[in-house]
């Protein structure tokens, strides 16, 4: 069950900090811009500036550092693989170690760690976005961002609604999974021991009821939406209308400054 508690994505951390109060559109746009800058940046100095900016945002957001770092756990494997591959395969720069068949060059070490660093910043910036923005606000922002694309046949509202529903039901399904898991454990089920095939098979008593309940929920939800005359996005107004504030302007300005500095260095 510890597995189920480690999903940071979409785990909104409620708060009233400056970062929380930003308009979700601003946050989405800035996160996107940050990622672009991150990929353009080449020098260690630019990365340091970007890392500093990230650290500043984390501090401002008042989200416990532990929670932010927890988002990195799933990519630990990829991180170590990136570093190891670069360190052992790259042939650039000065030779540092030469032992038997192992040759390590300075270029590989630098590149490996830079890439890993980039990945860390990438994940950090996106988890800060999801930690400080409620899923609903985020999909609202996505819907508005996609709206201009409607002209080309992109169903912006429908996509946003699907995302809202999916996000809304992640915790519900996790809770349900935990409940069913417990019920089967109470009947002596064993989800942990045995070979791969046996373990995959032992998941059936968990997955089948979970699927059945997901379909039942989907059916009930569709019925409830129809009962309230849902008919898609055409002419639909919103209860909470997003509005930019002065805060968003400041945030954009700070961010532009950081981006310019990072790219200039």
């Amino acid at each position: 069950m510890s597995m189920l508690q480690n999903v940071t994505l979409g785990q909104y951390f409620p708060g009233t900090s400056v970062v929380h109060r930003l308009d979700p559109r601003t946050k989405l746009g800035l996160a996107l811009a940050y990622i672009i800058v991150l990929f353009i940046a080449r020098t260690g100095l630019s990365y340091s500036v970007l890392a500093l900016a990230s650290a500043g945002i984390v501090l401002l957001s008042e989200v416990p550092i532990k929670l932010v770092l927890r988002g990195l756990r799933p990519i630990l494997m990829i991180l170590s693989l990136t570093v190891v591959l670069h360190v052992f395969t790259s042939r650039e720069g000065v030779e540092l170690v030469s032992f038997w068949f192992i040759r390590i060059y300075s270029g590989g070490v630098i590149q490996g760690f830079m890439l890993a660093f980039r990945l860390v910043l990438l994940v950090l910036s996106t988890s800060i976005l999801t930690l400080t923005t409620s899923p609903i606000a985020l999909t609202d922002a996505i819907e508005l961002a996609l709206r201009p694309l409607r002209r080309f046949g992109v169903p912006a509202h429908e996509l946003a609604m699907m995302m809202t529903i999916a996000l809304r039901f992640i915790p519900t399904l996790l809770e349900e999974a935990e409940k069913i898991m417990k019920a089967q454990l109470a009947r002596g089920a064993d989800f942990e021991s045995g070979g791969l095939l046996k373990r995959a098979k032992s998941l059936l008593p968990l997955l089948i009821p979970l699927f059945i309940s997901a379909f039942r929920r989907a059916d009930e939800l569709a019925m409830a939406m129809e009962a309230r005359c849902y008919r898609g996005g055409e002419g639909r107004t919103k209860y909470k209308v997003l509005a930019y504030s002065r805060l968003d302007l400041y945030a954009a300005m700070c961010f532009t400054a950081v981006g310019v500095v990072a790219l200039a260095l």
């Binding site: 951390f13 409940k179 417990k182 019920a183 454990l185 109470a186 009947r187 002596g188 089920a189 009821p209």
Partner: protein, 287 residues
């Protein structure tokens, strides 16, 4: 399998902003063969309490001892414990997964590593105990009615032959007939097998006439613990936390407030009827 809870507390997501104290300092001992009703409002901690009893969750503080197993011990083997303490969850029909009723009921015994003939015998026995006709064995559990599915799920736990049977709201969402049927079966099970039965409910009505002891949980603490007659004497405190007393007791309480000379507690309407008739006779005799 005597059960002993010693100063047990349980906290969900400790150390996070979502921290919630579900149970605080619970002391409870349950002897063999008792029939206990655990009553409390939604969110009072009763479901958490029963999950502690078969080691599905472990107390944040204190100890839970079942027989000679302490669930927080290192290297404790939980599977034998879960065989001895059978737990039927709320809306247990949501756990059904197999293609046939028989296969679903056999899941528990199969996990215990019993041999096929023994499993088949237990499936039959469990189906009869919950009142499912044996012809249903080869049916898909998903074709059955809600009440029947619930009974398949209960049979799935009974087939493990637990010495302690815990049922979390076994009648929630059933129609009155399905409810009575299940409660009657549970009562009979307790009488005939002498196993310990723990019935979790938020309804006094259901439990009053069945159990021999009631434990009232409120905000994670034991508020009352005693035989139904004793617990129902504190009608004010019970309705204060939104639980109320059985209708029969409520009628007597109101009659007493109106100056009638009737006992304070009746568990069934028939019993209340007797008291009222007696008091009526007494009155007319005086006149």
């Amino acid at each position: 399998m005597p059960i002993q809870l010693n100063n047990v507390s349980f906290t969900y997501s400790p150390g996070t902003p979502f921290e919630r104290h579900a149970l605080r300092g619970i002391n409870l001992s349950i002897a063999d063969g008792e029939f206990i009703g655990i009553i409390g409002q939604t969110g009072s901690g009763k479901s958490t309490l029963v999950q502690l009893l078969n080691g599905l969750i472990k107390p944040t503080q204190g100890t839970v001892r079942v027989g000679d197993v302490t669930t927080t011990d290192k290297g404790v083997r939980l599977r034998p414990l879960r065989q001895m303490v059978g737990l039927v969850f709320q809306f247990a029909e949501h756990q059904l997964f197999a293609e046939t009723v028989a296969a679903d009921i056999a899941f528990g015994p199969l996990n215990l590593g019993l041999d096929p003939s023994e499993i088949a015998a237990r499936v039959d026995e469990a189906m009869l105990t919950v009142g499912l006709p044996l012809e249903m064995k080869e049916r898909s559990p998903f074709e059955l009615s809600g009440g029947q599915m619930r009974r398949v799920a209960i049979a799935g736990v009974l087939a493990m032959r637990p010495q302690v049977l815990i049922l979390d709201e076994p009648t929630a969402g059933l129609d009155p007939r399905g409810r009575d049927e299940i409660l009657t079966r549970i009562g009979a099970l307790h009488r005939e097998r002498g196993i310990t039965v723990i019935l979790v409910s938020h309804s006094m009505e259901d439990i009053a006439r069945l159990v021999s002891r009631i434990v009232v949980i409120h905000e994670g603490e034991v508020l009352h613990d005693g035989p139904p007659r004793e617990v129902f004497c504190s009608a004010e405190s019970l309705s204060g936390i939104g639980l109320g007393v059985p209708q029969a007791t409520e009628i007597l309480r109101r009659l007493r407030l109106a100056g009638w000379n009737v006992p304070a507690v009746a568990l069934t309407l028939a019993e209340a009827h007797g008291f009222i008739v007696e008091a009526w006779r007494e009155r007319s005799g005086e006149a």
